[in-house]
């Protein structure tokens, strides 16, 4: 099947004479060398990538690595020096100006780092801008714009001017404006970088919620790895206009291809980014509606001190060997396991929570922690204190326990 977006062998060279410099770049000359010799900037060189429908694809790199330039090729705001860009199999480069405008109106919207709202337009007119350009009647424009203003929670500010809004509010207007044309793809150029940390994480979560509801493809630029790991299904790392590595968050974290990528991941607190499922192990001993005697028997046989009780496919709690052994022997045969004995167990963890949520329970309880699906109550597995420790210990980075 075709990818939604495909870029092949893309080069972008800034300067008066890009064609001649292209040959040198293709011959493998370095970006800095070309800049010194020819005064041309090789902003992108030899980019190949595929982006699937519904994916959150993050592009990451240091300042000047070519992120914005790459993003502006997806809707051809910048013309490539060489290379091809496909959308659903159609070559964007072969479009006429009129076709390109239709493509920009319907298929892609952009969200900018500095919001760039139109200062002379009220919030609602900013949100409706994309539809207005399509010559859609004012009434329908406003109806749709209102719907999106409500979704981003700005109903009271519909008639305000951008200068009256805070940064976070302005960016919500930017998001509403982009979504109002119902595009297939959202292009976001450091959309959250100029927001302060609290609003930023709020906006990240809002974006993830919207993504779940709408299933749009999102191409997201950032220079912050934590943000990339939090949002991205896949991450492309750009260095000097070339792609160093494309991979899932855990591939980037645990299998960095080179020192450049490793440089990004070095100082990341991985427990705050990785979900618990990435270090989850199978349940060593699952107990269900049996007698205490047989439960103890199973524990002895499995050489464990704890068992995880599951009834009707729902996780009930933990029982310890000590706890069960306190019960007089004559009662063990007829008494079934019950939940009362597990009251003081650790809080339940969902497999999609980040690992840092497990740190305090892990310190407090002297056994492995159960991991479940909080929505249906199923027990998925456990995480061990040893695995958490090795994740926190930088020396153990390349030998992470289990990769999803």
């Amino acid at each position: 099947m075709k990818s939604q977006i495909e870029i092949s062998d893309l080069y972008k060279i800034f300067g008066p004479n890009p064609e001649t410099v292209l040959k040198q770049a293709r011959a493998g000359m370095e970006k800095t060398g070309i800049l010194e010799k020819t005064a041309h900037t090789v902003a992108l060189s030899g980019i190949n990538l595929k982006i699937e429908k519904g994916e959150i694809f993050v592009i990451m790199g240091l300042s000047g690595s070519g992120k914005s330039t790459l993003l502006r090729h997806f809707n051809r705001l910048i013309e490539p020096t060489h290379g091809r860009i496909f959308f659903n199999g159609t070559d964007i480069m072969s479009m006429s100006p009129a076709e390109l405008n239709i493509f920009r109106k319907r298929r892609m919207s952009m969200i900018f780092q500095h919001f760039v709202l139109m200062p002379h337009r009220m919030v609602i007119d900013n949100v409706a801008f994309g539809l207005e350009i399509q010559k859609i009647s004012r009434k329908i424009c406003y109806e749709k714009a209102r719907k999106w203003i409500e979704i981003v929670d700005l109903q009271e500010y519909e008639r305000s001017y951008p200068a009256e809004l805070s940064g976070g509010m302005q960016q919500r207007v930017g998001i509403a404006r982009a979504l109002c044309t119902n595009p297939d793809i959202l292009l976001m150029d450091e959309a959250f970088s100029s927001l302060d940390p609290m609003i930023r994480s709020e906006m990240q979560n809002k974006l993830l919620t919207l993504h779940k509801q709408l299933g749009k493809t999102i191409i997201f630029i950032t220079h912050d790895l934590e943000e990339a790991l939090h949002l991205g299904h896949r991450i492309a790392i750009l260095k000097d206009g070339q792609i160093s590595q494309i991979g899932t968050p855990s591939e980037i974290l645990f299998k960095p291809k080179d020192d450049y990528v490793r440089g990004f991941t070095k100082n990341v607190n991985r427990t705050r980014i990785l979900p618990i499922r990435t270090i989850m192990r199978p349940v060593p001993l699952q107990l269900s509606g049996e007698t205490i005697e047989s439960a103890l028997h199973h524990m002895q046989k499995a050489h464990v001190n704890h068992g995880y009780v599951v009834m009707d496919k729902k996780y009930q709690g933990i029982v310890s060997r000590k706890q069960l052994e306190k019960i007089p022997e004559e009662q063990r045969k007829n008494k079934a396991l019950n939940v009362i004995e597990t009251q003081n167990g650790p809080p339940t963890l969902d497999s999609s929570m980040t690992i840092d949520k497990a740190l305090i329970p892990a310190l407090r309880y002297n056994h492995d922690l159960p991991v479940m699906n909080l929505t249906d109550g199923q027990l998925y597995g456990i995480i061990t204190r040893e695995d958490i420790a090795s994740l926190l210990d930088k020396k153990d980075w390349d030998t992470a326990p289990i990769l999803p």
Partner: protein
């Protein structure tokens, strides 16, 4: 010591002006008549309105522009003063000429400003002409213009237009050039055509500067009324001119006062409109 270029240039201009007058004089007069119809219509129209209605109109305009009642009242009393000084009719004639001149300035100035904002070629070609239009003494072109169109109001309007259009062109161009490039990029990213970008983004954002240009154009047009009256435009300028010729400084002074009053009225109203167009920049307090 010097070669005698002056005479050649002089003869060259004379011959060409004569040639144009001889061959195209009629069409120029026809164009002049066309303009005259408008002007006379406007003048008659304004004169048909009773003075109290015009005074109220000024008050209303001032209030809608600035939303300040004191300003409106002040401008109304200044209008009243014009009548009290006995120069109401002349003031109306002057206003009619000024309004027509401003209209022509806008029709020419706006597109030219946009053009030189867009193309650096036209920018380099047209800018020297703007300098020329503003600095060359108006008598230099008044003579050939009067020869072409005859004496009267039309050459007066043309002279006024030549002198007063440049600031509008310059500030329109400046306004369009200073629109944030990122905003243009937004418009492009949403699929705007160049003309949509111009209409929906560039002109609205340049409007405060364009209004400033318009304000300057109006002021410069007013400063031309005395010169214009020398080639037959009637109105306040004529009063001043007569005062000078008859050695009647009192009359000259009266005319001067009326010009100043008109300037204040035009200035305040157009400035207030310009300021109100930037209301969106204020954060609500």
């Amino acid at each position: 010591m010097f070669p005698d270029f002056g005479r050649y240039v002089q003869n060259f201009i004379n011959e060409n002006v004569n040639y144009i007058i001889f061959n195209f004089g009629d069409s120029f007069e026809a164009a002049a008549n066309f303009l005259l119809i408008f002007l006379v219509g406007l003048e008659r129209g304004l004169q048909a309105i009773p003075p109290w209605a015009i005074i109220c109109l000024v008050g209303l305009l001032a209030y809608t522009a600035g939303r300040r009642i004191t300003m409106a009242l002040l401008l109304m009393s200044l209008m009243f003063l014009i009548g009290a000084l006995g120069l109401w009719d002349q003031a109306i004639q002057t206003v009619a000429i000024i309004l027509i001149a401003i209209m022509i300035s806008v029709i020419i100035g706006l597109p030219t400003g946009i053009l030189i904002a867009r193309s650096s070629f036209f920018y380099t070609v047209i800018t020297p002409f703007l300098d020329l239009m503003q600095t060359i003494p108006s008598f230099v072109y008044l003579l050939p213009v009067a020869m072409l169109f005859g004496l009267g109001k039309v050459p007066a309007i043309l002279a006024t237009v030549i002198y007063s259009t440049p600031p509008l062109v310059r500030l329109t161009s400046l306004g369009i050039r200073s629109v944030n490039a990122e905003i243009i990029e937004v418009a492009r990213a949403f699929g705007s055509t160049p003309s949509q970008i111009l209409r929906k983004v560039e002109i609205p954002l340049a409007l405060p500067l364009i209004m400033q240009g318009l304000n300057q154009t109006i002021m410069m047009a007013l400063s031309m009324v005395v010169v214009a009256s020398m080639i037959g435009a009637r109105g306040v300028g004529e009063i001043i001119l007569l005062g000078l010729q008859r050695n009647d400084p009192g009359q000259g002074f009266l005319g001067g006062i009326v010009i100043v009053i008109l300037a204040i009225i035009f200035d305040r109203i157009s400035q207030s409109f310009g300021i109100r167009m930037q209301d969106y920049k204020r954060t609500s307090s």
